[in-house]
């Protein structure tokens, strides 16, 4: 331990310097680097329609990632999000067979998402169970129910007006999903950074006991976060189902890990207490651009997962290696 790091600086770092050295800036540089590399590597990359298509790689996942970011900042996690998508999608599929129209389908999707989130929330906050195990359990349970209902079958026949949520364009190349993604990002940024609720989320993640003694209703805030995560999964389920036009029980398999990767890549500490929505937004673009760029180069999806995995470990390991090397 060298003592120099403990000395009090003559002046605080300027806000500009602080901002330049932040995680978000680093990530933004990575994103720009990937964008430039992609444009050089493939002539098909810089095309408005192609780029618009590329956004579908991350919009649905990112919607959930925002809620997940809040949940992780508060010190909990929800691994059942992809299974909530499966269950909500199955419920909507079943409703279609009974002749329910688009407004009903949307309500069912949102409702199932909220119910699943409430179920997780009750188990974690009422019974005091660790969220990682609870949601590993509900992850099997929710998708399991989809499998019981559907088996190896699929639901199809969604109304055309419903498809718009996944395939519609608001203006030129701007898809409905992208607009929704942007709106949700703004809502979550305000919620986390500008409201009492957001302050409470940080406080709980840093010191839950301290937060409780400061008069924050810890369990209620956590329950709300599980509800929000469920709701976002319901919204993602609507978009994804509308985009694919069919429901199978294996829908969105493995998304929970990609979403957690997105959140952690965005600079949210997996131990809770810190992180920003801007970081998650940039991380979503980074992951989307990497996936899309490699796809244009005919790199198989599974190889992209190596890049994503290495990115996840690398972005956390490199700063630590750097500070270890400097401490020498």
């Amino acid at each position: 331990m060298n003592t120099s790091s403990r000395t009090i600086p003559d002046r605080l770092r300027s806000p500009l310097e602080q901002r330049l050295k932040s995680w978000e800036t680093l990530l933004l540089l990575v994103a720009i680097g990937i964008f430039v590399a992609n444009s050089l590597a493939s002539p098909y990359f810089l095309n408005a329609w192609n780029l618009s298509d590329a956004t579908f790689n991350f919009t649905e996942k990112a919607m959930i990632a925002f809620a997940m970011a809040l949940l992780i900042i508060s010190g909990e996690i929800d691994l059942s999000v992809a299974s909530i998508i499966a269950l909500a999608s199955t419920a909507m599929g079943a409703a279609v067979q009974m002749g329910v129209g688009t407004p009903g389908l949307v309500l069912i999707g949102l409702g199932v998402g909220l119910l699943c989130g409430a179920f997780n929330g009750v188990l974690v906050t009422r019974f005091g169970l660790p969220s990682i195990v609870v949601t590993i359990g509900t992850m099997s349970l929710f998708r399991g129910i989809s499998y019981i209902v559907l088996g190896d079958q699929a639901f199809r026949g969604y109304p055309a007006s419903f498809s718009w949520f996944g395939q519609g364009y608001v203006w030129w190349v701007i898809s409905f999903e992208f607009v929704l993604f942007a709106i949700i990002a703004v809502i979550y940024a305000v919620l986390l950074h500008k409201t009492n609720f957001g302050r409470a989320v940080y406080a709980i993640g840093n010191n839950a006991t301290g937060a409780m003694f400061s008069g924050i209703r810890v369990q209620r805030v956590k329950f709300t976060l599980f509800l929000l995560t469920g709701l976002m999964s319901g919204i993602a389920a609507i978009c994804l189902t509308a985009r694919l036009g069919s429901t199978r029980p294996s829908i969105a398999t493995g998304w929970e890990l990609e979403i957690v990767t997105m959140v952690v890549l965005g600079g949210v500490s997996i131990l809770g207490g810190s992180g920003t929505i801007v970081g998650v937004v940039i991380a979503a673009f980074v992951m989307g651009l990497v996936t899309f760029g490699l796809g244009l180069l005919n790199v198989p999806g599974i190889v992209m997962s190596i890049v994503i995995g290495a990115l996840l470990i690398g972005v956390i390991a490199l700063p630590r290696l750097w500070s270890m090397w400097r401490a020498r």
């Binding site: 188990l123 019974f127 005091g128 169970l129 660790p130 990682i132 195990v133 609870v134 590993i136 359990g137 509900t138 992850m139 099997s140 349970l141 929710f142 998708r143 399991g144 129910i145 499998y147 019981i148 559907l150 088996g151 029980p249 398999t253 890990l257 957690v260 990767t261 952690v264 997996i270 131990l271 198989p300 599974i302 190889v303 992209m304 997962s305 190596i306 994503i308 995995g309 290495a310 996840l312 470990i313 956390i316 390991a317 630590r320 290696l321 270890m324």
Partner: protein
């Protein structure tokens, strides 16, 4: 003594398994014959092997989500080695499998120990990397039964006293790790590091290093299981054992291993794995669609973790319960 036995998770779980078997027996006596039970045990052996490794990792307050990917990567490597050099003795193949698995486990362990990256992040990353590597080395192709040498495929199926080698491997692992966890200083260090890391540090235990060894053990067992898996099913491809890591964690949780670390036994992990294994094997017999399996194991996890939490509240996490009681 008797009271403690009744209250213990192991006894509770044994009771649940007996009840389960009795229920199945009442309708399908054929399921509960020794030969079929040996079959079920053999089928559950990979889950038991991985659950033991996972339990050790969870004891140190970590989690290893890369076990199934480690298994698949090791399995692919040894089956490709077997295709390239069919004459290689099986003993050497086993050594390579365990060695490679150990190495992959050490990568996890080093990242957790030296860089202090949260285990869930590390193993989430290595999980996807390992899976990707399988694709890279195999080019997405399958290694099929007819390409593997007969000796390679025969090893896990060779029967000794009515139980195949695969099953015996699980038996040996249960015995070895029961001894390691209860009779060696490494085992003690693992419980201490997870039960109370700060106290463990003051007691002279290097918590990070202990976690490193836990990941190494988990990796070694995953590597060994990798060979046994591909040779038993006589096929190797990118997605084998996909999602198996969650079954493994489920087996641990059902077996009473506390996710907060420091609490759990090898026998508990064994029973948790057997519970899932029996359900999986019994569903087709009692004519329930196999599609029910996922939901049932999910429900079992939630019930088990609720029971765990209740038990934790009463007993607290103390390493030397008996000494505590005596004093």
């Amino acid at each position: 003594m008797l009271k403690r036995l009744i209250q213990s998770r192991e006894a509770l779980l044994t009771g649940a398994i007996m009840l389960l078997l009795a229920l199945i027996f009442s309708r399908f006596p054929g399921f509960v014959t020794p030969a079929n039970l040996a079959n079920v045990f053999n089928d559950t052996a990979p889950l038991i092997l991985l659950a033991i490794g996972q339990m050790i990792v969870i004891l140190t307050r970590c989690i290893d989500l890369s076990v199934a990917a480690n298994l698949a990567l090791t399995g692919m490597v040894v089956s490709m080695i077997n295709v390239a050099a069919p004459g290689l003795p099986i003993a050497l193949i086993v050594v390579i499998a365990v060695g490679l698995g150990t190495l992959l486990g050490m990568v996890n362990g080093l990242l957790v120990w030296k860089l202090a990256i949260p285990p869930i992040v590390v193993t989430l990353g290595t999980m996807t990397i390992f899976r990707g590597l399988i694709f890279v080395i195999s080019d997405g192709k399958w290694v099929n039964s007819h390409e593997m040498s007969p000796a390679f495929k025969a090893f896990p199926r060779t029967e000794i006293l009515g139980l195949p080698v695969l099953g015996w491997t699980a038996v040996i692992a249960v015995i070895v790790f029961s001894v390691v966890m209860t009779r060696t200083s490494l085992g003690r260090a693992i419980y201490a590091a997870g039960g109370n890391p700060r106290a463990a540090t003051y007691a002279g235990i290097n918590v990070g290093k202990t976690q490193f060894w836990a990941f190494t053990i988990s990796g070694a067992l995953a590597g060994l299981t990798g060979y046994l898996w591909v040779s038993r099913f006589a096929v190797s491809y990118v997605d084998i054992a996909g999602g198996f890591e969650l079954d493994v964690v489920a087996a641990c949780v059902i077996g009473g291993v506390s996710i907060m670390g420091g609490m759990g036994t090898v026998v508990g992990a064994l029973l948790g794995a057997l519970f899932l294994g029996i359900i999986k094997n019994a569903l087709p017999v009692v004519d329930v669609s196999p599609f029910w399996q996922l939901a049932i194991s999910g429900g079992a996890i939630i019930i088990a973790v609720a029971l765990n939490a209740k038990a934790n509240r009463v007993k607290g996490r103390i390493i030397l319960k008996r000494a505590e009681r005596a004093s």
